[in-house]
């Protein structure tokens, strides 16, 4: 029983307490998930939070490689190697230059991109809810103020809140969890077939950019369960 309790405690603690913050190569900071492996600036598994240094003089970007993708971060970003071998990147503030083969794309604050392992180009990006992301990530839930870009992140959250309040952005109800590619659709009220169709198309669009194959997933939807085809990479 003691062993079991210790095990449960260990699992709970290891998932909730963020890894220690460590200095990054160019003066910024780096947080790694428990399962992350970083060797020679290359993220081999897991999730990393990178925040580049600030200053009056523009600091060098923090550069991280994941597979064939190179990420130059001037700001703060969540970066993960997906279970399928791809890359998931979200810019929390500032900007990222994402390079794949000869293609280079700028990722602005609030934007996320999923890049499949076999892709030679950077697909289209989507906007994600930063407040929800930061509250549900073990790397950002605690000690957010210790990040160099904490104030800028807060400004981006305020920007999204304002856009949501003014109707310039709407929540799609489609969400991806952790470093995976599968999207789930949440619905708070009974829906018509049309609404479900709209939700599914949203899910499809949300994750269609990096998709090279599709899988059928079961998504828990409020009080109901909807069998929806979600496009997954």
């Amino acid at each position: 029983v003691k062993t079991l309790l210790f095990f449960i405690l260990y699992v709970a603690v290891s998932h909730s307490v963020p890894a220690a913050q460590q200095p990054a190569a160019n003066g910024g900071v780096l947080r790694l998930s428990r399962d992350a492996a970083l060797r020679d600036g290359r993220l081999e598994t897991g999730t990393a939070l990178v925040s580049s240094a600030r200053g009056l003089v523009r600091a060098k970007p923090e550069v991280l490689k994941v597979g064939d993708v190179e990420l130059a971060c001037r700001g703060t970003a969540l970066i993960a190697k997906t279970p399928q071998g791809g890359v998931k990147v979200t810019c929390l503030e500032g900007q990222l230059i994402v390079s794949v083969a000869k293609a280079r794309v700028r990722l602005d604050a609030g934007r996320m991109v999923l890049i499949d392992r076999s892709m030679a180009e950077v697909p289209e990006t989507v906007e994600v809810n930063l407040e929800r992301l930061l509250d549900t990530s073990a790397l950002t839930r605690h000690d957010r103020d210790a990040l160099p870009g904490a104030a800028a992140i807060e400004r981006e959250i305020q920007r999204q809140r304002k856009a949501l309040a003014r109707g310039r952005l709407v929540a799609s109800g489609v969400a991806l969890k952790d470093s995976g590619h599968t999207a789930s659709v949440s619905q708070s009220s009974p829906t018509t077939a049309d609404q479900r169709g709209a939700s599914s198309s949203g899910a499809s669009s949300a994750s269609s950019s990096p998709s090279s194959s599709a899988s059928t997933g079961s998504s828990v939807v409020g009080n109901t369960s909807v069998q929806s085809a979600t496009a997954c990479a």
């Binding site: 709970a12 998932h15 909730s16 998930s33 428990r34 992350a36 897991g46 999730t47 969540l78 993960a80 998931k88 979200t90 609030g110 996320m112 990006t125 989507v126 906007e127 994600v128 809810n129 929800r132 992301l133 509250d135 549900t136 990530s137 073990a138 790397l139 950002t140 839930r141 999204q160 949501l164 109707g167 310039r168 952005l169 709407v170 929540a171 799609s172 109800g173 489609v174 969400a175 991806l176 969890k177 952790d178 470093s179 999207a183 659709v185 949440s186 619905q187 708070s188 829906t191 018509t192 049309d194 609404q195 709209a198 939700s199 198309s201 949203g202 499809s204 669009s205 949300a206 950019s209």
Partner: protein, 315 residues
Amino acid sequence: MNRAFLLTLSLSAAEAQDRTFSRRDTGVPALPPPGVRAPGLSAEGGATPAVTSEARSDADLTAYGEQEILVPVPQWQPWSFGFTAGWEYQDNAGLTPDREISDHVYRQSGSARFTVPLGETRFLDGGVQQQSTRYADLDVLDFDRFDVDAGLLQALPESWPLLGGSVASLRVGWYRLSEGGQLEDELFNNFSLNPSLLRSLALNPAHSILGNVSAEISLDSNSVEAQRNEYSVLVAWQAKWSRRWESSLYLRGAFYDYEQHDDWNFVGGAAIDWVWTSWCRLGVVANWAWNESDESVFDYENTTLGASLRLSVRF
């Protein structure tokens, strides 16, 4: 006068292209159809609150967290205001066939436009613009120009062969030229009917080609000698190299039908813009203009090199 018109045309063509792109760039994820509430929205239209920090226990956390997709909603912004200030060097500022005189020219202009949708594909558009042109040495050529125009824009159905996706417009316009700094001294005025057809073709997200065919049929003027009908074709290639840098190449050919002579006018040019913010950009432009008239006194060639600051806001 020709150059001022060219500038106005190229700017309005570029603005029209922007409008075309903004319809395309409304966001990656598809929006629910009109009348269908997006899942995750409350009845009042606000976003359903995400699970709060307090309600979520640390054991629920994952390394990356949850990524809820937000969908941009296109917002119609009917008003646009612009201000442009620019300097340019001209090697034949007097537009003469010989004895060319170079000069430095300073221009500034302010404009206001109002565009209101009348349906899914039809718009009512109107605007005013005041422009001042001042020459460093040839100050006898200084002039001010005031423009007013209004018209209908119609986006043609995508299913139409060849012309699908083009924007057709029919405007009425009036402009007045006066001595520089002396608005009461009118030099010329012209009232015209301006049909046009604009086609924008995106080659990829960064490159596009623009084509515009237009006419300016003069209905009334205070000077028969300067009054003309104008028929023009514009082709431009625009590229966005990064968020900061954009460039364009353009070529325009026009036929000017005056009462006493006919002119062929050609302009080719290149422009590079540095985009500072969504409302402010700096640009450099180089162009070459060539006018061939059946009255040789109106022949000229002129090369221009300039820089400008452009401010624009929409709401």
